[in-house]
Structures are given as structure tokens and as C-alpha cells.
């Protein structure tokens, strides 16, 4: 399989008045053609910063970005703004979380979509408008010809997110980055949007980088999952591996904290204790250790160093960053976690 996107040792650091914020600190992953990678992590774990780095949108800001971001044979991080402009929209496109804020309030949605098409296609305004109508129809907006003339605030949240999707897919990008595209929507609309994305992915053959803090979304749409915590990847594997046999205590916490409707009598809501660490003064050693309920079971001092992201013995594609030995993890999972799932 060919990788559409390769990210190697990505670091994004912000110099702030309070100190150096290591928002993303050495993350690597790749996405294969037509596949969907889900990046999961709680608020502040560095998901958006990662996606903006891929789009090259930290350029011109105070962010210090290092590492390799390879797409279409170009390293986004080394490329000039003009070179990245050739990739944006065409090789990679992005859907943002807050569609109201992400669409220009003063331009008609039809013009905004047509503009996205015209950036990479030398066509007349009229032809681009025609493409926009088709795209709006394709993402399920009724009366697309009339809705072309409307402004973003005249759409409902779900419809507006469809507009964003139409705009991002107008140049048929190889990679679609979706940064929490459904977080602001209610559950039914959320499901519709995910269905739409899946259908479009099949039709257009794009790869998707789906950023979310919702494991339900991941289960629905992703092939592979990258779990982030405090700017680092702490577990990586297929959806099956991560949801059925998670290895990291943080993943256990996330999975067991999903409220269940069935068997409500004995299921308790297990939130992960504590709060995410400050990205300026990270705890020494494993950054999850202050919140980890299992660190005393580790034979290694969890505060000594950040554990390597290493393959689980039985399966080299499933990686985890944890000081617990594999046998301990398996034992804990079997006896304490699996019953709660």
C-alpha cells in the first residue's frame, strides 16, 4: 500500500510568555490511500495543532514546527508558502469544527465553494459556480441552485457543515482532514454527516484524517487510530485493536468512561481521575503517570522516562507507550477492564 501522508517526528512548539508550550512533541503516523485514520485525545492534547501543521497553517505564526510531513512528495514543513498553496485544497483539504466561524460571513456560500474550485482549476466563474451547485447537491443540500445565493448564517449547523464538506471536496483532494466536524452537531445530524463522509470517501477515494475526542465516531468511520495524550502519541493500531484490546491505561479509562444504556444498574461512570498536565511543565517520565491508576504495578519507575512507543509482541502494527510489561497489561485488562466494557 502507498502512503498518502507520512508524518515523522512532528513537533510543534509555541514560545509563550509563560514558557515553551510543547503542543505536539514527536508524533509519527501515516495514512494509506483510501483509508481513514482517527486521531483521538482529550481537549488540549494537540489534535488541532497537528492537523494545522499538516496543512502548513502554522507558517507565519510563532509556532516552531519540526519533523517531516510528506504529501505528494513534498515536505510541507520545508516547502514555501507558494509550494504549499499548490497542495492546499487539491492534495489535502480541511473541514473545521465550527462551520459558522470557518465560513466567511460576507460571501455567499456558492461563491465560497466556486472560489475553492477556481484556485486549482482554470475555469470561468460560471463553470465554477456550476461545480458548486453540483457539489452542494452531492452533499445533500436541497435546492442547491437557490441555496448558492445564501450566506453561511442562513444555514443550520448540519447544513453548514455539509457546505464545508462540499467546499473541501470540490477539488477532489487525496486527503481530507476533518477536525471534529461533528462535535457541534446533535447526535442524529452527527450520524448523517458521518454517513455522508463515508459515502463521499467511497466515491472520491480520498483518505481521511478524522480528528475527534469521541470514540463512537472513531468506531464508526476509522480504519486506524492514533491516541494522543499531552502532545504525544501513546497508542496506535487498528480500530479493532484499540477498541477491543486497548493496551494503554489511558485508553482503558476512555473506553470505560463511555456511559452505557444497557445494564445500567452496575455500570458506573469511570472518569479518568485528575486533569491533563500543563504542556509547559510536563511531569517527569510518562506524562500520563500522575493520573495512572496502575503505575504502582509497573516494575519500572514510571517517572523515570517517557516510555517508547513500541510494538506489542503479538502484533507489530499495534504500538503502545507504557512502562507496564505486556503480561501485566494483559492481566489487568482481562481481570479489571474487559468486564466493564
Amino acid at each position: 500500500m502507498t502512503a498518502i501522508l507520512q508524518v515523522k517526528d512532528l513537533k510543534v512548539h509555541f514560545q509563550t510568555d509563560d514558557g515553551l508550550v510543547k503542543a505536539v512533541d514527536g508524533v509519527s503516523f501515516e495514512i494509506e490511500a483510501g483509508k481513514t485514520l482517527g486521531i483521538v485525545g482529550e481537549s488540549g492534547s494537540g489534535k488541532s495543532v497537528t492537523s494545522l501543521a499538516i496543512m502548513g497553517l502554522h507558517k507565519g505564526s510563532r509556532a516552531a514546527v519540526s519533523g517531516e510531513i510528506l504529501i505528494d512528495g513534498v515536505d510541507v514543513n520545508q516547502a514555501t508558502e507558494a509550494e504549499v498553496n499548490k497542495l492546499r485544497g487539491k492534495s489535502m483539504a480541511m473541514i473545521f469544527q465550527d462551520s459558522l466561524a470557518a465560513l466567511h460571513p460576507f460571501f455567499k456560500v456558492g461563491d465560497q465553494i466556486a472560489e475553492a474550485y477556481q484556485v486549482h482549476n482554470k475555469v470561468s466563474k460560471k463553470a465554477a459556480q456550476q461545480v458548486a451547485v453540483e457539489m452542494l447537491g452531492r452533499v445533500g443540500i436541497p435546492n442547491p441552485t437557490q441555496r448558492m445565493e445564501d450566506f453561511p448564517h442562513q444555514f443550520s449547523g448540519g447544513m453548514r457543515q455539509r457546505v464545508m464538506i462540499a467546499m473541501s471536496l470540490s477539488c477532489n483532494p487525496k486527503l481530507l482532514i476533518a477536525d471534529e466536524p461533528t462535535t457541534a452537531l446533535d447526535v442524529t445530524v452527527q450520524a448523517q454527516i458521518l454517513d455522508l463522509l463515508r459515502d463521499l470517501q467511497r466515491e472520491f477515494g480520498s483518505s481521511i484524517l478524522m480528528i475527534t475526542h469521541d470514540l463512537g465516531v472513531v468506531a464508526e468511520i476509522a480504519d486506524d487510530v492514533l491516541l494522543m495524550y499531552a502532545g504525544k502519541a501513546i497508542e496506535r493500531g487498528t480500530v479493532r485493536e484499540l477498541l477491543k484490546t486497548p493496551e494503554h491505561p489511558y485508553a482503558w479509562g476512555l473506553l470505560t468512561s463511555i456511559p452505557k444504556l444497557t445494564g445500567a444498574t452496575d455500570s458506573e461512570l469511570l472518569a479518568i481521575p485528575g486533569t491533563p498536565p500543563s504542556l509547559i511543565t510536563l511531569p517527569s517520565g510518562c506524562s500520563f503517570s500522575p493520573r495512572c491508576s496502575y503505575k504502582n504495578r509497573s516494575k519500572v519507575d514510571c517517572e523515570s522516562a517517557m516510555p517508547e512507543l513500541a510494538g506489542v509482541k503479538s502484533n507489530s502494527s499495534h504500538l503502545v507507550s507504557c512502562h507496564l510489561s505486556e503480561t501485566d497489561r494483559v492481566a489487568i485488562f482481562k481481570s479489571e477492564i474487559a468486564p466493564k466494557l
Binding site: 497553517l57 492546499r88 487539491k90 473545521f96 466567511h104 460576507f106
Partner: protein
């Protein structure tokens, strides 16, 4: 939209009525007696009574106001039926005590000079203000930004009379690069008109551009951090399209609003500029009228200024509706 316009026009008319009542009231709260002022040096009690009658100051106050308004709407005749009958066609604002001329004629004579100042100065301050604001915003924290910020600060804190006199001293008196400021009709002497106007244009243009430079810079920087600008970049647009299409479109709206209001105010008379450069415009007319306690002229200039400000407000709101789809559809 039409209903809105009608509503705003009614509102504007109401404001005008209130302003007219207020300035009309000036006649009577001021310690000066209009009849005494109009009577002149060789005044006798008989003459004074006659003038009182001529100016219709001997009828009750509300009736005077009513005639005053009626004069504006449909004209007015003083001393009707007598030999000295005076017809004052609508819009009648009465006669100057000082020169006995129709106030409307005075206003008509003086308006072109003010219009000339406003025309050139507003183009200049928009050009200077917008371009230096844009450059500042795009080259933030570079020397060029600091320089233009400094100039804007100077412009905002200096006064017209100071800058005007300094410029005049150097550019006209010392270096002789410019001819003395003054006003001639642009129809008859276009070159001389422009030459006479350069100094007022420069002074007003520089000082007011300071506000626009700061407004533009702040507006653009604020818009640049909006999510939709990030979206525009994510489409692959060049930074030029991002800045000049997406950023400017959002940043220009408040600037146009302020511009309309400034222009409306200026059209009513650039009082200090006209005074400093001795330009016979509406502002100069107003200052002269005030120092001569020429009440009809004071009332006339105040009303004209108020009309411009009220109209500018309405125009600005209409333009705002066109520029901002959210307001338009609300």
C-alpha cells in the same frame, strides 16, 4: 428595505425638528435682542419697534416658530400688503442682520468652498489612511509599521491649526512650493482652485488619515485571526487574495461607517480648517455669524450642518445593510 428607509427618514425628520426648535430657541435665551441687533448704530425706539414688527418678533413665540418652519417649507412674506413687502422664497431662512442678504443665498455662496475642501481631503485621508493601515497590518512589527504607527499617533494628537500654520509657514512662506491657500471657483479657474486647496487638503487629509490608519490596521489584524481567514488559506489561495479579498472585505465595513460620518460632519463646515486658511466656506460663515451674533445665519448654518449629519447617518446605515448580509436580512 424600503420600509426601513421610510422609518429612518421619519426619524431623521424628527431630529431635524428638534434641532430647529433648539436653534430657534437660541434667539430668545441669548441675552442679545434680535431687533436691537438688526437696528444698527443709529437706532431709535421707533425704528426698533418697526424692525420688531418687520421681523415678526412681536407675535407669540410658538407662532414665530410656526412661521419660521412654514418659511422653510413654503416660503414666507414679510410685511405683507405694505409697500416694503419682502418675499422670501422657500426654503426661507430669513435675512442676515449683518448684510441683509438672504441666508439661503449666503449658504449657497459658501457651500462650494466647503465642498471643495471635503472632496479633496476625504480622498486624501482615505488613500493615506487605508494604505498605511494595510501596510502596517501586513508588515506588523517591522520598521515600516512602527513608522506609520508613529505618524498616526502624531496625526491623532496634533491639531489642525498647529499643523496648518506650520505647513503654511514652511511650504508657502519659506520654501514657496505652494501658493497661498484660498478659494476660487473650480469652474472658472480649475488650476488656481486646486493650488489654493492643496494646503487645506494636506492638513486635513494627514490629520484625519491617522484615524483611518489605526482603524484599518486594527481591523485587519483582528480579521486575520478569524477562523474564516484560516479557511481561505486552507483553500490554497495566495496571500494576496487572502489579504485583499477575504480580510479586506470584512475589515472595510467599520471603516466605511466612520468615513460616512466624518464626511457628513465635514460637509456641514470645516470650521477650524476654513478659519485657519481663511477659506470662505460654511464653517467660516458660521464663525463669522457667531462673532456678529447674526442669529438667522447661525440658525441656517446649524440647520445645514444638522441635515448633513442626519443624512450621513442614514446613508451609512443603508450602506451597512448592503455590506453586511446579517444586518440586511434581520
Amino acid at each position: 428595505m424600503l420600509a426601513y428607509l421610510v422609518r429612518r427618514l421619519i426619524g431623521g425628520a424628527t431630529v431635524m425638528v428638534l434641532v430647529s426648535i433648539f436653534v430657534f430657541g437660541l434667539f430668545f435665551v441669548l441675552p442679545a435682542d434680535p431687533a436691537r441687533l438688526a437696528c444698527g448704530k443709529s437706532c431709535t425706539p421707533e425704528l426698533m419697534a418697526e424692525i420688531r414688527h418687520t421681523l415678526e418678533l412681536d407675535i407669540p413665540l410658538p407662532a414665530q416658530y410656526f412661521r419660521f418652519v412654514k418659511g422653510i417649507v413654503s416660503g414666507r412674506t414679510y410685511l405683507a400688503g405694505s409697500e416694503a413687502q419682502l418675499d422670501c422664497a422657500a426654503p426661507c431662512l430669513g435675512y442676515s442682520y449683518q448684510t441683509d442678504e438672504l441666508v439661503t443665498n449666503l449658504l449657497k455662496d459658501r457651500a462650494p468652498a466647503t465642498l471643495s475642501i471635503a472632496f479633496g481631503a476625504s480622498i486624501l485621508w482615505l488613500l493615506i489612511g487605508l494604505s498605511s493601515g494595510i501596510v502596517s497590518a501586513l508588515r506588523r512589527a517591522t520598521w515600516i509599521d512602527k513608522f506609520s504607527q508613529g505618524a498616526a499617533l502624531a496625526g491623532a494628537s496634533l491639531q489642525i491649526y498647529f499643523v496648518g500654520l506650520v505647513l503654511q509657514f514652511f511650504l508657502v512662506d519659506k520654501l514657496g512650493w505652494l501658493s497661498s491657500p484660498g478659494y476660487v471657483s473650480p469652474n472658472d479657474y480649475p488650476m488656481e482652485w486646486a493650488q489654493g486647496m492643496i494646503l487645506p487638503w494636506l492638513t486635513l487629509g494627514f490629520l484625519l488619515s491617522a484615524i483611518y490608519a489605526r482603524l484599518t490596521r486594527a481591523g485587519m489584524i483582528e480579521v486575520m485571526s478569524e477562523d474564516y481567514i484560516r479557511t481561505a488559506r486552507a483553500k490554497g489561495l495566495t496571500s494576496r487574495s487572502v489579504n485583499f479579498k477575504h480580510v479586506m472585505r470584512a475589515a472595510i465595513t467599520p471603516i466605511i461607517t466612520v468615513f460616512g460620518l466624518d464626511l457628513g460632519q465635514l460637509l456641514g463646515g470645516a470650521v477650524i480648517t476654513e478659519y485657519v486658511f481663511n477659506i470662505p466656506g460654511l464653517g467660516k460663515l458660521a464663525t463669522e455669524a457667531v462673532s456678529n451674533v447674526d442669529l438667522p445665519v447661525i440658525v441656517g448654518t446649524v440647520l445645514v450642518a444638522a441635515v448633513f449629519i442626519v443624512m450621513a447617518n442614514i446613508v451609512v446605515d443603508l450602506v451597512y445593510m448592503i455590506l453586511d448580509p446579517k444586518v440586511r436580512l434581520a
